[in-house]
């Protein structure tokens, strides 16, 4: 007898390490629960379960927002709104274990709206592109050369359509796998590949490479 058809279940492990998940004194043993159980509890109104989810993924959401936007502007508003939207729609989450990807998709969606709106405003002369906030992107420990590269890449990203920009940033800056990018952006893999490919070609055309060993290359930041 053939085995009954089964479906794969996505398993997302929570981030490890004390720095990734700040511990709140009032969360009891909830930190040990996986996302699915926390989502189940939170959707029944258990605030501490939602707080645990928040603390588990706040860093992910904040860094995701900053790196896609290229600045830390309004990032707290974005993350706040993303978690609020997630909270209000917890019941709609089919695969509760996939909370992280789902939350990320909400963050991406919020930023995408902002980027498109900003671009549209720019087109009608009511706004302009936000300058790259290098201090929010580059670590203090980043080499001058790396900072210069980040500045250049983000300056070029500013000129791209929001979708291409987001897909490329997720893939090459935030280092998501293609499937992760597809999930975060709500697109098919083929679409994501096309967007990344288009952005990559543009960047390759306009990126001015530093010269290996050239001290001037390190002094551009």
């Amino acid at each position: 007898m053939a085995p009954a058809p089964l479906h794969l279940r996505l398993v997302v492990r929570p981030p490890a390490g004390p720095d990734d998940s700040p511990v709140s004194g009032s969360l009891g043993g909830l930190e040990a629960l996986d996302d699915a159980k926390l989502v189940a509890l939170a959707s029944k109104g258990e605030l501490s379960a939602f707080e645990t989810l928040y603390r588990r993924y706040a860093a992910f959401a904040i860094n995701l927002a900053v790196r896609i936007q290229g600045s830390g502007r309004d990032v707290e508003d974005i993350v706040h709104d993303a978690f609020l939207r997630a909270h209000d729609r917890l019941a709609e989450l089919r695969d509760r274990q996939a909370f992280k990807g789902w939350l990320g998709a909400i963050v991406v969606s919020l930023i995408r709206s902002r980027l498109r709106k900003r671009r549209l405003m720019g087109l009608v002369g009511l706004g302009q592109n936000e300058p790259v906030d290098l201090e929010s992107i580059a670590a203090e420990t980043a080499s001058p050369e790396a900072r210069a590269q980040l500045a250049q890449v983000y300056a070029l990203l500013q000129t791209m359509p929001a979708d291409d920009r987001i897909a490329w940033t997720l893939r090459y800056v935030d280092q998501h796998r293609l499937e992760g990018v597809a999930e975060l952006t709500g697109c098919s893999l083929a679409t994501v590949k096309r967007r990344i490919s288009r952005a990559q070609r543009f960047l390759k055309d306009y990126f001015v490479p530093a010269f290996a060993g050239d001290p001037a290359a390190g002094g551009l930041a």
Partner: protein
């Protein structure tokens, strides 16, 4: 004189831990939570609040609308404007983005510019030179390297109407336009690999799943050395798995793994192949592939679900096949695993 580093080499330094800043300091996390907590702690009573709240909301909306309308109607003279199209068009959400014949599907290993034949559109120069962007000042001193001009003498051949429409995301019209060229099958038989991928998009977007499978299958059969073939195989496998053709799906996933063993989807193709083998009832193959998965991807993202799947298959099968070590080891099975929806694209 030193050579410039390749673009890809330079990119590799961008995502090092010491390069990117961690913006999630504890104070910020706490600050957001303090704002968030009162909003999520309030018990929801949507019906009551809606029934009471709609009236002032409607009134406020009317007032705002009136004020905005009033403001605009009082503008003495409309300023002449010019509508400028964006360089890249994007279709509304929900529809696949138009595929361009010039697009390369592979991003993991950027290759030299591919010659695509007469239909490849010439890349238009950027309308905004780099130096004009304010952000570009950070690298204003970097020497500008001229890119090679496009090869001359290749007169563009007009695209077929269906390709133009597909390029604009008008898939329904593109599908109907195929009739101008003898119908889907006629176009299919003459299409290049790039066109077949677009044809598959058109078919999928218009709900013609069978046609899409036809186009993708042709890519994997007639253009197996084309760069589109791996992604076509992967997409084909997924479509066939959804359609219940486990055997065909398994073949497609195997093809992907042969064509692109180090590709982005190699791990997912193997995991999907296992799923297809289980659904097909091919127990031996499922176990063999599962062992291969564990060997190739010892820390694989699908390892746990594969174990669960094999255990569940054993139970459903009612048999007790030779337990495979260590895949056969007991693992905690979440009760939701039995009712979980079909695999979504795994997220790292």
């Amino acid at each position: 004189m030193s050579k410039p580093k390749a673009f890809e080499d330079q990119l590799s330094s961008l995502h090092r831990a010491e390069t990117l800043r961690d913006n999630a300091d504890k104070a910020r996390v706490e600050r957001i939570w303090r704002r968030l907590e009162p909003n999520v702690a309030v018990p929801k009573s949507p019906k009551r609040s809606w029934s009471i709240g709609w009236a002032p909301g409607l009134a406020a909306g009317l007032v705002v609308g009136f004020l905005i309308g009033h403001q605009y109607t009082n503008v003495p003279e409309a300023t002449p404007g010019k509508l400028v199209a964006e360089p890249t068009s994007h279709e509304p959400a929900g529809l696949p983005e138009p595929r361009r014949a010039s697009d390369q599907s592979r991003t993991e290993a950027p290759e030299p510019t591919k010659t695509l034949g007469p239909r490849e559109p010439t890349r238009a120069p950027r309308s905004v030179p780099l130096k004009e962007t304010p952000e570009a000042s950070v690298f204003a001193e970097v020497p500008v390297i001229e890119t090679a001009p496009a090869p001359a003498g290749s007169a563009p051949v007009p695209q077929p109407n269906w390709l133009k429409l597909a390029d604009r995301g008008e898939y329904q019209r593109a599908y109907h336009s195929l009739e101008e060229y003898g119908g889907f099958d006629a176009v299919l038989s003459k299409a290049s690999a790039d066109e077949l991928m677009i044809l598959a998009d058109v078919a999928r977007a218009t709900g013609n799943r069978g046609r899409a499978i036809q186009a993708l299958r042709r890519v994997t059969q007639s253009f197996v050395s084309d760069p589109n073939a791996p992604i076509a195989a992967m997409t084909l496998g997924r479509m066939l798995l959804q359609a219940g053709d486990s055997k065909g799906a398994s073949e497609a996933f195997s093809l992907y793994r042969r064509l692109s063993p180090e590709g982005d989807f190699a791990e997912d193709a193997l995991a999907s192949d296992i799923q297809a083998a289980v659904e097909e009832g091919n127990w031996d193959r499922a176990q063999t592939l599962a062992k291969q998965y564990e060997s190739d991807f010892p820390d694989g993202r699908h390892l746990e679900q594969i174990r669960e799947q094999l255990h569940a298959a054993q139970r459903a099968n009612g048999s007790n096949p030779e337990p495979s070590e260590p895949l056969g080891e007991e693992s905690e099975v979440d009760s939701e695993a039995q009712t979980a929806p079909p695999a979504e694209s795994p997220y790292q």
